[in-house]
Amino acid sequence: MRSIFWRLVLLAAFTVLAIVLFLPSTPLSKRLPSFWVESIPKINLGLDLQGGMHLVLSVDRDKAIESHTQRLAGSVEDTLKRKGIPFYNVTRQGVDSVAVAFPDEKSRGEIEKTVKDEFGVFGAPSAQNGSVLFALDEQETKRIRDWAISQALETIRNRIDKFGVAEPIIQKQGENELVIQLPGLKDPERAIELIGKTAVLEFRLVDESVSPFTAEAQGPPPGSEVIYQQSVDKETGAMSKTPFLVKKEAILTGDSLADARVAFDSQYNEPYVSLTFDSAGSRVFERVTTQSVGKRLAIVLDGNLHSAPAIREPISGGRASITGGFTYEEATDLAIVLRAGALPAPVNIIQNVTVGPSLGQDSIEAGINAGILGASLVLIFMIFYYRASGLVADFAVFLNIIMLLGAMAWLNATLTLPGIAGIVLTIGMGVDSNVLIFERIKEELHAGRTPRSAINAGYDRAWWTIVDAHVTTLITAAVLFQFGSGPIKGFAVSLSLGILINLFTALVGTKVAFDIQSEKLRLKKISI
């Protein structure tokens, strides 16, 4: 690339390319032809600039193992009953074990053999005064843990898709965390409710053998438990809790749902959630309601009793409804979570960073204003100090910024507020390469060299210094990229891209301007 002409062509080509790349990311995009805008990747705005929500959830995987073990205990009991093997009871012990109490050594042997043959998921059994203990083997617990996290991710993705957020990001992070980014969200409270709800729906029969208050005081009868119905008085906001005694065993769960929709009560025009069971669920529902006419059926959501209507007649057709003073939004969201399915385990929000759209807008404006001020100050300073050569350096800074924006669009990078700061800083630090070269040229001129040899010596000698200076900044930028999150990654990206591009614009861009002065115009003196 010795020829001045070809270097100019190269610079012009890169500049045009950069402009083509970044213009669709600016407000000008509305006036550009659509084939242009659509075929070019865009610079994304970070959540701190466009507003939105960044959530980190931890999935309680032990709970997933616990409920899986609970279900296994049920199947073990069924199997033993079916085979006529004598036992006292089957319970879940701790997080991952099923204990079977046995009457004698003979049945103990049969129990161990049956469980080993029918369920391949337990390790070697261990004895514990009168019971035999089966613990899930390591492989199985690992499988459930992995399943819990991927299932939680799928379910949440499903819920968010149904809720309708543009371009959500839902990812696994580390062992048991999910990162969720929802840009441009209008109602963060509602989104959190929707995402965080475990949504385990159960239909259980109400146990009316003793009053719930007796059960509360003296302990519930075996196979039943006390749960509460929470209600909020809409006028005073006061919370009240009513105890109910219900069977532990669920006759149906949310797994049997085919659909859940919002419907309106014809009498009071109140919204409620209408449920449709799948065919197996419908049969179970019909059988149970036939057997239990006159009893009450509790609808339990995440351990809270929602309502407990009385069964007046057998219900066929597999339809049920959840009523109870919903607002339209609450009913919609409940229908969404029921349709998307329950989370395999409860999730905890361990990090929530939400930025409102107006703060984001303020940040963009502040960033741009600061950028314009910073850039003007630097550019004026350079002209003031280096005269015509300062103008050349300014031109290089200008190219630097254009190409940086172009590169960011091309890489589909995310611009954050610290990222804007990184660009502004690139302006200040970016002139350094040229300052190094100019100072060197000045020294060479002072030493009595001709402009042409001073320029060449200046560029040659400053080269390694510039490389060293750039690499050291790149090291810290790389570390920031590795360890940083969202906004800080954005800073690392714009800083490191800015520095790499600077190497090109400062060395190629300004050199060609000097070569024109010394070779084509044959100036005896350069303005520096």
Binding site: A370, A469, L480, F483
Partner: protein, 304 residues
């Protein structure tokens, strides 16, 4: 034009004074760093866990009123901060246990009922659980350590080991100095500030490398002067560049301090402080340090 040309300032001659200043700065930095594990540092919500909510009210309010309202509802430990815009309020609560969502909803409710004539929107909410805070602290520490090692290796490879050590000492000095000043000003240390500190490290190193480069170049020429004179001459030769680059970088970062808005104000302030300290340290700390390491042996360089 030139600010400085052909100066012959005896920078190394002032090293006794500047070393004292720098040792004080380093001690201050260590005090600030030690305050972190002792729990006396002003750490941000991202590091400590807790809640930070930024409100934008419809009209200006009395900060004392908001403080009283919060205290009445049991939030005596909330820290309140008003911005240049008198209608904006930042409420921070350093409680990382319990239900953070419920707590932030309660805080919002306090203002809804306590100041019914001044409605608000929530500009931002940050809720960080305790495990996340600890992890972010660890990440930040790792970032600092890894970048210091990276710098040491690169400079040791490009120059020689003692240059690497001097550069890292000077860089560490700058990071500690900025941290110390932030401690004195009772500014909050957040993830963003750590980012600024690492950027300062990168910048300060650039400055140091430029001076070292010249020292190396002059060492290759066979001159009769001793090492002290050589270092002095090298620093003087690049002084003009040092001043110009520091000025332009400072202009850019000061623009961010003035106009960048509340979110990055402290970040930009840390950068500006870092540029100043970084320039000072490359002249007065990094270069003199070369004298104290095996200075009898004339360094041998591989060709760059």
């Amino acid at each position: 034009m030139d600010f400085v040309r052909n100066t012959k300032i005896d920078f190394l001659g002032k090293r006794k004074i500047t070393f004292v200043i720098s040792i004080l700065l380093i001690i201050l930095g260590f005090v600030a760093a030690a305050a972190i594990p002792l729990g006396r540092a002003n750490l941000s919500t991202d590091f400590e866990g807790g809640i930070a909510i930024q409100f934008r009210f419809q009209k200006p309010f009395e900060i004392d009123k908001t403080r009283t309202l919060l205290a009445e509802r049991g939030f005596k430990d909330a820290s309140l901060q008003q911005f240049a815009d008198p209608a904006k309020l930042l409420v921070k609560l350093k409680r990382s246990d319990g239900d953070l969502r419920a707590l932030s909803q309660t805080i919002g409710g306090v203002f809804t009922t306590g100041m019914p004539d001044n409605s608000f929107v929530i500009d931002s909410t940050t809720e960080i659980g305790p495990t996340v805070g600890k992890r972010l602290q660890k990440d930040a520490l790792w970032a600092v350590i890894v970048s210091m090692i990276g710098i040491l290796v690169y400079v040791a490879w490009r120059f020689e080991f003692r240059f690497g050590v001097a550069a890292v000492v000077a860089t560490f000095h700058d990071v500690l100095a900025v941290l110390g000043v932030f401690y004195l000003l009772d500014k909050e240390v957040s993830l963003l500030i750590v980012t600024a500190l690492l950027t300062v490290a990168g910048y300060s190193l650039t400055d140091t490398v430029v001076v070292f480069d010249r020292i190396r170049e002059n060492m290759r020429k066979k001159t009769k002067e001793d090492f002290v004179a050589l270092i002095n001459r090298s620093v003087n030769e690049v002084l003009s560049r040092t001043i110009v680059t520091s000025s332009t970088t400072l202009l850019a970062s000061l623009a961010l301090v003035i106009l960048g808005g509340e979110v990055i104000h402290d970040f930009a302030l840390a950068l500006s402080l870092g540029v100043i300290v970084g320039t000072y340290s490359s002249i007065f700390i990094a270069s003199p340090l070369l004298l104290y390491w095996n200075n009898k042996k004339k360094p041998v360089f591989a060709k760059a």
